[in-house]
Structures are given as structure tokens and as C-alpha cells.
Symmetry: C2
Subunit: 310 residues, 2 copies
């Protein structure tokens, strides 16, 4: 069986991060980076479509290529600068202030899907302008088996109509709890999930950070907690790591049933629990298979029980 | 096999509640009421130790007696008034303002454990002054197999030393996440759990409301989510219902292993999910076995998955 093809669209970026535990200069960041690293934990043939300036270090690109991620869809703009984000987390790590956002080359990003990924099985549309996400869908030669879209409140505030258009064409929407509430004006996530499914996506993942993630499909609900950690060091990229684990697992297993999506959510939560343990991508870059499997067992002990139902 | 004996200590009360959905006059409330109703879902021989004034309606007492709850330890003070609490929930239902608290007969409550419950297997100490909780422990003829204690920030603020003394003598502490943080000055619940176990209780349940509940014991952790609901109508008594389900299940099954405590947490979360659907005790008073079992199945579907671990 050939490996499932996964197309990833998202930012490659520089992040500068402050947390209560320390601060970094510009380090490797970006949604596509975290998504790609998480997906590379699975047997999957993945490619990233993105844009950077020529200030983006070759070693970062090599690190991704070394993980069998195809980068032929990454445009390198000569003389351009790479997207840069700087943020400071509050003491509880649940909220943050953006200190700087420099779009740079991202401002004119025109994604071009490489020819041999126009038949990808799974497309993971990272958080970007909905028009860019739509452009990628339109370039596919055939309807992918699964299109997953991540977005955030910024696009709801500024490009509502475009966002509503693109989510008509996707299968899975991943957003956080506050965004689900904003999108639907419903406080109850159960009610919000019904309304969001009416807008297009038949599956919905609501990410609740330290409070876990919910998967909705028709009248079915699955929940995976976040693994309780001694310390959350840097939440940057946790949501993207989650999305990458989810997409990567589904592309690798080629099974899009709700039951298998439960497994995908568990793998996704598991990987996200590593991502937050160090600054940026550091933990994900050096993550070993044996660590992943050990923590999956902890996950099982954390959540599985055996009640006799009458 | 005779039924496990469960001794419940806590308030019988009048509550007046305002939520975004409506308001009530004085209705039946109190920790012992919710605990007793939840525990009565299991085959258990339970008794309540409490105090009321003679304004407490006989029909409330009959309702509890009808569920095989022994009330010989409920003191009825002639001419006295029953403990009364009035509160208003905010729109998100996660926080509330106390509008009135009248201790009344509770101010001089001197608990007397009935002779034939001094050998109870499980003692559930509802949220009360720690000296009252300690007095109950001291009246037991032999060390109960399991002593569970519920408390709140008020007792941490006002009776810290007394609280620290009583929790040396218990097996399970149940508190919410904010209280666990306040008790230990640790934001991480994993770290807080370690510190709390050093204070006495070998087991700890941290209740996170809509975000579920964590069970800690040595290096083991179990998590049960709250069932996602279309509407939380009135959170009053959810924590007590949880505690009653937990205590009742353990008293009925007489199995105090960590594995069985996982089941107790699941049953407890399941019962709490009903409690919040109506004002006060209304839902718990009319809860049917078939409803409980159906929702347990939903709980299983919500949380159980099947991943092959290498």
C-alpha cells in the first residue's frame, strides 16, 4: 500500500516568545512547521505549501526535508522577509498579547500546489486568509478524501463572508471553544456544534487547550482530555501540532470513520502534550517514537475504564 | 452480602436560586440532600447526620426516607430556622454571587452519629466547618474503610488550621481546581495533587465543573469529562451530586481499588450531568434507572477508544 498523501498549507515563520519561564529571540515557528512535524510522526507522504523570505535559514528547510516533507511548494522570495510573530503569554498561559506581527512575504502569498500533490488524500489548511485556503482547494485535481481547515477569531472578525464560503467546501473544521461560540452565538458547545455542521463541515473539532478537545459528527461526540502536565512551558503551536497529528494519522491510516477519528484525536492530543513542554518546535524536533508510545499508554490509563452496563 | 453502610454529614437547606433561565423561591437544597439523592442510586444503606429547624417541611424528610435514607441523625430544632442560601449565577454559569446566607440552626450544629452508623464503611463529610467534620470522625467506633471530605475556599480562608488537621484523618479529598491551587500555591494541578497528598489524603478528586474531574493517587491519574450538555440549567448541587455518586458507588461495590474508583468517578460525573438539568434537586428526585444507564453508555462512547499500542 502506498503512503497516504497529505498536503499542508500554512505559515513558515519566525516566532519570538515570552512566557513566565523565559523568552526567546526569533526561533522557528509557523502553523505549517508544527503541522508538518506532528504529521511526520506517521507514515505519510506530506508536502508543505508556503512562502518565506530568503532570510529563512536553510537549516530549517533541511530539518523539514529530513523528515520526508516535500518542500517544492515552498516559495522563497528573493530579498523578501519571512512572516514574524512576537507574543507574550500571561501567567496562566491561557491568554497572550501579540507584541508584533509582520506579514512580510505572507502579505502577497499566492499558494501553488505542486503537480504531484494535486491528488492528495488529505488536505490540511492551516490558519490563513480564507481566500488562500479556498485557492488551494480549487487547485486540487480531484476532491480530496478529507479537507481539514483551521482558522481563528481574526478571520471571523475581518473576512466572515470568505470564511463562510470556504467552510462550505471542507470536511473538518478545527477551532477553539471561544471561536466556536463566536461563530454561532451559542454558549453551549453542543448547540454550537450543530450550527457549525449546518454551515458545511460534517465533522468539527473544538480545541479547549488544557481542557482537552471535542470531536462532533452528527449526533456523536468524542472527548479527549489534554494530558495533565507538571508544567506547560510554551503553548505556541499546540493547536497546530494537534491539527498535524490529527491530519497525519488519518492520512496514514486511510480510514475516515468516526471511530478512527477518535483515535486521531487521541494521537493529536498526545502529540500536543509534548509540543508545549519546550519553546517552539524544540520538543517536536527531538521527539522519539518510544516517548510517544509511552505517553499513549498513559493516555489510555488516564481515560479508559471498565464499567458493566446493565 | 449485606449492603454497604454510608454515613453522610452535611446540610439540609433552603436554596433560592437565580440563573439566566429563571429564579426560584426557597426550594429544597443542601449538600446532604444532593449527596443522599445521588447515593440512593446505588444499593447502599445510608444515613444523614444534619440539623434543620421545624420550618423544614415534613414532605422533604419523607422524600429522603422514601429512598431508604436513615434520618435518625437529623436534629430538628424546635422554633429554629433551617439554613438558607440565596445566590445568583452569572451568564456563563461558572461563577455566582451569594445574595444571602442565613446559618440559623447550622450555627450551633453539634452532629450526633446514630449508634448503628458508628460502624459505617464509608463516611462522606459534606462541606461544613472542619471541626464538625472532625467531630464525626471522632464518633466512629472503628476507622471507616473510607472517609471522603468535601470542602471549599471559605474554610481555607477562615479555618485553615482546623482544615489541615481534619484532612490528616481522611482518605479522599474532593475540591475544585481553584481550591486545589489556593491550597497549594501551585498552578499545575499535577503539582498541586502531589502537595495535597502530602497533607494526608491518599486520594484526591479535583472537580473542574464543565471541564470534568481528575482523580489522583500516588503517580496515577484518571480523568472523566463532564458530559457535554445542550444546556446547563442550574449548577447548584452538581459537586455534591458528584460526591454522593462517588461515595455511594464505592459503598455499594465495597471495592476501594484505584480501578474501581475510576468507575466511581464515571458514575459520579454521570449523575452530576443530570443534576444540572433542572432547578435544585428536581431532576435527581425523578431520575430513572433507565436514564442513568442510557447516559452511562453515552459516557462510554464519549471517552472510550481503541488504539493499538506498539
Amino acid at each position: 500500500m502506498s503512503e497516504g498523501k497529505l498536503l499542508i498549507v500554512g505559515t513558515l515563520a519566525f516566532d519570538a516568545i515570552e512566557t513566565p519561564f523565559g523568552k526567546t529571540d526569533k526561533i522557528l515557528g509557523g502553523a505549517a512547521t508544527f503541522i508538518g512535524l506532528a504529521a511526520s510522526q506517521f507514515k505519510v507522504d506530506s508536502a508543505i505549501v508556503s512562502v518565506v523570505g530568503d532570510d529563512f535559514p536553510q537549516e530549517y528547510l533541511d530539518m523539514l526535508s529530513d523528515r520526508n516533507i516535500d518542500l517544492s511548494g515552498v516559495e522563497i522570495v528573493k530579498g523578501g522577509k519571512t512572516f514574524y510573530w512576537k507574543g507574550r503569554y500571561h501567567n496562566d498561559l491561557n491568554s497572550r498579547d501579540t507584541l508584533a506581527t509582520e506579514l512580510n512575504t505572507l502579505a502577497d502569498f499566492n499558494p501553488v500546489v505542486p503537480e504531484n500533490y494535486k491528488d492528495a488524500d488529505v488536505v490540511m489548511l492551516g490558519n490563513l486568509h480564507p481566500n488562500i485556503q479556498m485557492s488551494v482547494i480549487n487547485q486540487m485535481k480531484k476532491r480530496p478524501k478529507l479537507v481539514i481547515l483551521d482558522t481563528m477569531n481574526f478571520w471571523m472578525d475581518n473576512t466572515w463572508d470568505e470564511l463562510m464560503e470556504v467552510i462550505k467546501h471542507i470536511d473538518v473544521l478545527t477551532i477553539n471553544d471561544e471561536e466556536a461560540r463566536q461563530m454561532t452565538n451559542e454558549y453551549s458547545l453542543v448547540k454550537a456544534a450543530v450550527k457549525i455542521q449546518e454551515k458545511g463541515p460534517k465533522f468539527l473539532v473544538i480545541k479547549k487547550g488544557e481542557h482537552g478537545a471535542l470531536l462532533f459528527h452528527e449526533n456523536q461526540i468524542f472527548f479527549a482530555p489534554a494530558l495533565p502536565l507538571e508544567e506547560v512551558f510554551d503553548p505556541t503551536g499546540a493547536g497546530d501540532t494537534f491539527a498535524g497529528g490529527f491530519a497525519g494519522y488519518l492520512a496514514a491510516t486511510k480510514n475516515l470513520s468516526f471511530e478512527n477519528m477518535k483515535n486521531a484525536v487521541v494521537h493529536a492530543s498526545n502529540l500536543a502534550s509534548f509540543s508545549v513542554e519546550r519553546f517552539g518546535t524544540e520538543r517536536m524536533q527531538h521527539l522519539k517514537n518510544v516517548e510517544v508510545n509511552k505517553r499513549l499508554q498513559e493516555f489510555q490509563q488516564l481515560t479508559q475504564f471498565d464499567i458493566d452496563l446493565q
